[in-house]
Subunit: 328 residues, 2 copies
């Protein structure tokens, strides 16, 4: 089976669809971070995106295309949290009922966020249940539209709008980026960004960053075929625990991704603390993966201009406080 890959024109179309609703998030520099790394680091603040993460972009791009006749039947999604909130908020904007299948151990902030947009929540057990099967059964029952977290061309195109904005903004600053780093779970974000940069700034390297043991993209790219990461102890990056990259993201990554990195949880915690204490930004552990990769020197930025996507901020506040206490 050949998968349908989105093209850059799909990202352009997505950008037009989301423009009335999504925040065109800031791309900022911080003098202390630049000095620390000997680089120009541009931070893309998806933490300030509607719903507190980039996931709103893909969800809105998908859901805004549901035909009026299908809207009343609703949407169903499975998600550890940020996609859930993105889907719930996007559905609410079109008055579409949303049902979200979430893991029992989801951070309270993500659960409350999802419910606050009016979505119904069904729980599953991360270790025992097949969340996709549960979601599919619910879809059949209701005739609802399944909104996958990453393996969907509309979702990938929506997330890819971030790469397009980064390239545009860098051009405004008169900067050609040497690299863009972003967290990777199923790969919808990194696939979309890699596609966007290949069209708008082809000399820019694009690097995925995954937690150790949840580095499915890294292993898959190395093997030339989709593989599952070993998993095991849960990572503090609760949004980056998809074991295997999606088909579409993997195909895009094979074509356009330059580097696949993996980092330790301790490095994520350090970056969470640095973000709060020095950058003055709340970033959830998963969202700091790109920053963490620079700070722990998995990717050397010295003398370069690099952009990092800070993808989300929907952690329990106590998690940030704990990281700060341990990493002063």
């Amino acid at each position: 089976m050949t998968v349908h890959l989105p093209a850059f024109t799909d990202i352009e179309a997505a950008a037009a669809r989301i423009a009335p609703y999504a925040v065109k998030t800031p791309l900022i520099e911080n003098a202390a971070l630049n000095d620390k790394l000997g680089a120009r680091v541009f931070l893309k603040l998806e933490t300030l995106q509607r719903t507190g993460s980039f996931k709103f972009r893909g969800a809105l791009n998908k859901i805004s295309q549901i035909t009026p006749g299908d809207r009343a039947k609703g949407v169903v999604a499975f998600s550890s949290g940020n996609h859930a909130q993105g889907v719930a908020a996007a559905a609410a904007l079109f008055s579409i009922p949303a049902l979200i299948v979430m893991p029992k151990d989801v951070p309270v902030a993500k659960l409350e966020g999802t419910r606050s947009y009016g979505a119904e929540v069904v729980f599953y057990d991360r270790l025992r249940d097949d969340r996709e099967a549960i979601a599919r059964a619910l879809c059949e029952e209701r005739g609802a539209t399944l909104v996958r977290p990453f393996d969907d061309p509309d979702i990938v195109a929506g997330q890819g709008t971030i790469g397009r904005e980064i390239a545009h903004e860098a051009a405004v600053h008169g900067v050609t980026l040497d690299a863009v780093l972003a967290p990777c779970s199923g790969g919808g974000l990194i696939g979309g960004i890699a596609l966007a940069l290949s069209a708008t700034s082809p000399s820019t390297r694009v690097a995925s960053v995954e937690p150790e043991n949840y580095d499915g993209m890294r292993r898959s790219i190395a093997a030339g075929k989709r593989l599952a990461a070993p998993g095991g102890t849960p990572s503090i990056a609760d949004a980056l625990m998809a074991p295997t990259p999606g088909e579409i993201p993997f195909a895009l990554a094979q074509r356009h991704l330059s580097d696949t990195l993996a980092i330790a949880d301790d490095d994520l915690a350090l970056a969470v603390a640095y973000a709060a204490l020095t950058l003055k930004l709340i970033v959830e552990p998963s969202g700091t993966a790109g920053l963490a990769a620079l700070m722990c020197d998995r990717f050397s930025a010295v003398g370069k201009a690099v952009a990092v996507v800070l993808t989300g901020a929907n952690c329990d506040f106590s998690a940030v406080a704990q990281a700060c206490a341990q990493n002063r």
Copy 2:
């Protein structure tokens, strides 16, 4: 004695001077906040400014004009913290020695920040000592330049660049702002903003927000002459405790300020928690005054487009954590 008031051309000149060094901070909207207030609220994120507060702007505008011959003699400033860091960082950029007179009870984050830019710190007792006299004596001793926190046309013009950026950015969004709200201590910021808006967006109201009992500007405007606020119990807004507005800020406020508001510490704490938990921004209590005034309905924004300056983020992290715990 007639004071020398800055003109809008001084703000334009300041903007050109600070452009190579200062962050042109984002002006963002948040859907949850807009929904909550029934308004369009534009947040000016000076929390992401170099040194973590707007004070860098005025300090840089002043210090960059010190003649090469006077640079070696250094600069002296007195400050509860944010001005200290702004002066220290701006002086470091021009290799000028900086000596800062700080209160003994300054938040650790502000003390560490000031020292991190290489400044020397001398402490004073907030209740017993005259910090201005100490600073003046140190200046005479060294032939150094005194960098006042607010009563200086170059400082006011530097802070006024914020108002100019807000007006420009709002115009890009196609929005005419009904009002701009900003915290007020000695009034350098609000005076500069009021001057900038009078030139760039004359129909926009400009409102100062002070802590109760530290509402020197409100009392002075009401009386038609500079008066001291009663003070008393320290406010959690440690940066807003100047009892009396400066001569220059007061003169500008008399001409250009529309509203003078005062709010309770509890409202500031609520806004600190809302900023961290919902907006995903670290904002120090003093920095939330404008937001707090909207949230506690001291200034009704319903149906309007308003901008709020979030002025700084240099509080101890534990202060944010405490506000969050008490205001969930």
